[in-house]
């Protein structure tokens, strides 16, 4: 083969090859802004030459394949970084929401209400018999309690929202893994006959999206099948099979073949789901617990002082606020108590039972003139002794009933609350000098009721009679003075005192740990707010630096895989000129043939 026939054949191949080149360029230009698109290039190869008459002739050009400019290693690293970034972004959003919840730049913040709470006790001490001052103490106490409750409620709501997000995220993961499986199938089919470049791009996009939800490991086999595993090694996609996830209670479950189910919650470390789990089980859990511990300490410390005092009025009846599960068991037996107690536990089941110690308290009874009634002993008052590891609630009831000369009756109500009432309208009673903390533990003559941030309230007994707010104390003769402010002083002094508050730390997959801190209640609340800020700031910093890494990797990836219009336009012109030149070859061949045909 030689002469113009070969020339025509080369020209024809060249025309179609350049046309191919223009088409690939056009595809690149068209997809300049398509997310996930990888630049393609037509690979031109010179055809195998032929030998003719001892001379080797080139026979033109062919397009072997269209390749994608892809760096799989780089893409893997980029995907990992993006997994981290999407997790950090969720964390940042959640923490900035928490900052809003704990916003201290307002009059309704916890800090501001702590200030108000102490100040109203000062005001009450300045005018212990004032009705307005008593109402203010009650109202401010209620506001503080409400604030604790609404903070707790807000944290709970964030937790619920996170659970919803996790549920939705798991659904999304299932949708994406199903898609990956079907792409695996399509790519396998297409690769049998040609290249599935654009499908692979799309599959990569799905993989990117999947990895924003959860940290994954993936690899591709020789047939182009993509296998996806969770970080913990559970298969999500294998060829065209999908293994689904579902959320159950607080766990993310993996459904294997057959009936096998595994909770993979703790092995999920990255992506949105990972950071939602971190937020829920570490951050929110800590703040809720710490807020609860703060409320618990506030309740106990205020109550402990409040029970030492007396209101302007003595009680005609009073009911405890803490439930006694087992009135027949010792109040605070040795060893650590379980709350709530199980059926084998030998303790009273009072929430604050651990704080009860050996000691006693005094009970005074007054007649209708407000004079102290002698209950038959050498002293006017009744002294009730508490031996923490043997005295039972029933013992206290019995002691009061047998020694009060019929003036007052004690009982444990059917709901399990300690209760004392005067036997008739003439009598009233008051308490003093409780060295055993039993009154505070029973919830008698307390300011607050409840046990943590979710249920803290001002004792409902005070709602109906604010005269019962204990500003003063019963003196050694049993007298109650309207201008006595010694107990109000003691409660106001609580703001300066270091008290013991637990601080918790949570780590997923491990038991929560506690450390005892001694701090003023206000200081503890300040550090709680500060901690939210520190967390938020550090996550912001991490997110920022991670964003820089992602941007840099993206830039490198793009320089390999993404389209440059300048480059494509240059290529276009190149191909266009080559095309024109190839056309010229045909004209030349034509003229050559014409010349030949013209020979006669």
């Amino acid at each position: 083969m030689s002469g113009s026939g070969l020339l025509l054949s080369i020209a024809k191949d060249a025309l179609s090859a350049q046309q191919y080149g223009i088409n690939v360029t056009a595809q690149n230009i068209a997809n300049v802004d398509t997310p996930g698109y990888t630049k393609q290039t037509a690979v031109f190869t010179a055809k195998t030459p032929v030998t003719y008459g001892g001379i080797v002739f080139g026979v033109g050009v062919t397009i072997d394949e269209i390749i994608q400019h892809r760096d799989s290693y780089l893409e893997g690293r980029l995907r990992d970084q993006k997994t981290i970034l999407s997790g950090l972004e969720e964390e940042e959003a959640c923490l900035s929401f928490l900052e809003g919840i704990f916003n201290e730049n307002s009059d309704h913040s916890l800090g501001a209400q702590f200030i108000d709470f102490w100040n109203v006790w000062h005001d009450l001490s300045n005018n212990p018999s004032g009705e307005l001052e008593r109402t203010m103490v009650y109202e401010t106490g209620s506001l503080l309690a409400d604030n604790f409750q609404s903070l707790d409620e807000s944290l709970l709501r964030v937790e619920r929202d996170i659970n919803l997000s996790i549920g939705a995220g798991v659904d999304q993961i299932n949708r994406l893994t199903s898609k990956l499986a079907s792409f695996n199938q399509e790519i396998l089919n297409l690769e049998a006959t040609g290249s599935a470049n654009d499908l692979k791009d799309q599959r990569n996009m799905i993989l990117d999206e999947l990895s924003s939800y959860i940290d994954i490991k993936c690899y591709q086999d020789d047939n182009g099948n993509l296998t996806v595993l969770t970080n913990g090694g559970y298969t999500l996609v294998d060829k065209n099979n999908t293994f689904l996830l579902y959320s159950e209670d607080k766990d993310v479950m993996w459904e294997g073949s057959g009936d096998s189910k595994v909770a993979i919650t703790d092995s999920i470390r990255g992506g949105k789901i990972g950071s939602w789990l971190d937020m829920r089980d570490e951050i929110i859990a800590k703040y809720r617990k710490d807020l609860g511990e703060l409320a618990k300490s506030l309740i106990w410390e205020v109550n402990q002082i409040h029970t030492q005092g007396t209101g302007k009025d003595a009680f005609s009846e009073v009911q405890g606020k803490y439930k006694i599960d087992k009135p027949g068991e010792a109040i605070n037996p040795p060893g650590e108590a379980i709350y709530p107690p199980n059926e084998y536990d030998m303790s009273s089941g009072l929430y604050f039972q651990d704080s009860v110690s050996d000691g006693n308290f005094k009970l005074w009874v007054y007649d209708s003139n407000g004079d102290v009634v002698n209950l038959g002993g050498t002293e006017d008052e009744l002294v009730i002794n508490i031996d923490a590891d043997s005295t039972t609630a029933d013992d206290i009831v019995e002691y009061i009933n047998t020694h009060s000369g019929g003036t007052i009756n004690a009982e444990i109500t059917s709901e399990g609350y300690f209760s004392i009432s005067a036997s008739n309208d003439d009598y009233t009673f008051a308490f003093s000098e409780d060295t055993s903390n039993i009154l505070a533990a029973l919830g008698i003559n307390t300011f607050f009721s409840g046990t943590d941030a979710g249920n803290i309230e001002v004792n409902s007994t005070l709602f109906s009679n604010k005269e019962l707010i204990a500003a003063g104390r019963v003196d050694s003769e049993g007298n109650i003075a309207a201008g006595d402010n010694s107990n109000a002083f003691a409660i106001a002094n609580l703001q300066y005192e270091g008290v013991s508050v637990k601080s918790s730390s949570y780590e997923r997959g491990k038991d929560s740990a506690y450390i005892d801190t001694t701090t003023t209640l206000e200081n503890y609340s300040h550090s709680l707010v500060g901690l939210v800020g520190i967390h938020s700031k550090s996550v912001q910093g991490q997110r920022e630096s991670n964003e820089i890494i992602v941007n840099q990797l993206t830039e490198i990836r793009n320089s390999v895989s993404s389209v440059s219009l300048d480059e494509e336009m240059t290529n276009l012109i190149k191909y266009q000129h080559a095309y024109a030149a190839a056309a010229k070859l045909i004209t030349t061949a034509d003229e050559m043939l014409k010349t030949l045909l013209a020979i006669k």
Partner: protein, 303 residues
């Protein structure tokens, strides 16, 4: 490195975002006047600010406590000044009677005058601040001194108690601003032989009527000792007022110092913040104009 078209535009968007975020932040500082607008802006600073705020609120409250206490002291002091005045008058009447021989009518007048002083002193002894009696100890809702001349035994009873009403003016400092009535007016008891102002005056009345000069002489001494007691309480009140003045001044200074510290931590230096905003604005503008000119560049313009 090859710069792809996407990289070019992505970079423009990233840089513009960064510049505008910086500008918004700078703007927030200027418009709120605060450096710390959320906890994460400066968590440690915020914690200090919160501590300072509660310390400030506390010393402000102590200031209010002092104001409340000052009212008690001043009302008490002016009542005691009146008591002092009337006691002095009573003493003058006694001296007058003792030194000169008087007619029955003159003695009767003198006795009436003493009686009047007694009633006045009684009313000042029952002085109140708001609804609270000052000289009743902590039984502030009970009228402390009660006169019943028909009672053959005890004519004046003290119904208060021995613990003076106090206010809290410092972390560990309570100052008594009310009074135990017995501290001022003498001793009262179940029977009528204790020495107190009212007994002395009631007795003096009788002695004047009886023209018993020896007893009057004795009574003058008693009145003098009462005067001494009243005056020592008055001077104690003066000392306390001075204490309050000093405390208030300290509180003002502390308040100022705390507020300075708070302001340093929390408030933005407006000049600096405005300059910073201007710089960020300029940076944003430059980024915009640079981006626009980069976006204009393309090989298309030259083909």
């Amino acid at each position: 490195m090859k710069i792809s078209t996407k990289t070019l535009y992505d970079n423009i968007i990233t840089n513009l975002n960064r510049a505008s975020t910086d500008m918004i932040k700078a703007n927030e500082v200027v418009s709120t006047g605060k450096k710390i607008n959320r906890a994460s802006d400066d968590p440690m600073g915020l914690m200090s600010v919160l501590d300072i705020r509660s310390s400030m609120a506390n010393i402000d409250q102590l200031g209010r406590n002092i104001t409340a206490g000052r009212l008690w002291i001043t009302v008490g002091e002016s009542s005691l000044n009146q008591v002092d005045e009337f006691l002095y008058q009573a003493k003058a009447v006694c001296i007058d009677i003792k030194d000169e021989e008087k007619t029955g009518l003159a003695r009767e007048n003198a006795a009436d005058a003493v009686d009047e002083y007694l009633k006045q002193i009684l009313s000042f002894a029952n002085a109140k601040v708001g609804d609270s009696y000052i000289f009743a100890g902590t039984k502030t809702d009970t009228k402390p001194f009660f006169l019943d001349e028909s009672d053959p035994e005890v004519k004046v009873k003290y119904k208060g108690n021995a613990n003076p009403f106090s206010v809290k003016v410092g972390i560990d400092t309570d100052v008594a601003v009310g009074r135990n009535g017995e501290e001022v007016f003498g001793v009262f008891g179940e029977n009528w032989d204790y020495d107190n102002i009212f007994k002395t005056l009631i007795d003096v009345k009788q002695h004047i009527m009886d023209n018993n000069k020896d007893e009057i002489e004795m009574s003058i001494e008693k009145i003098e000792s009462h005067l001494k007691a009243v005056r020592s309480v008055i001077s104690d009140a003066t000392v306390k007022i001075t204490q309050f003045d000093i405390k208030e001044k300290i509180i003002k200074d502390l308040d100022f110092a705390y507020d300075n510290k708070r302001s340093l931590l929390e408030d933005a230096d407006i000049n600096e913040a405005v300059v910073k905003l201007k710089i960020k604005e300029l940076a944003y503008q430059s980024a915009l104009s640079a981006s626009a000119s980069v976006m204009d560049l393309s090989i298309m313009n030259y083909l």
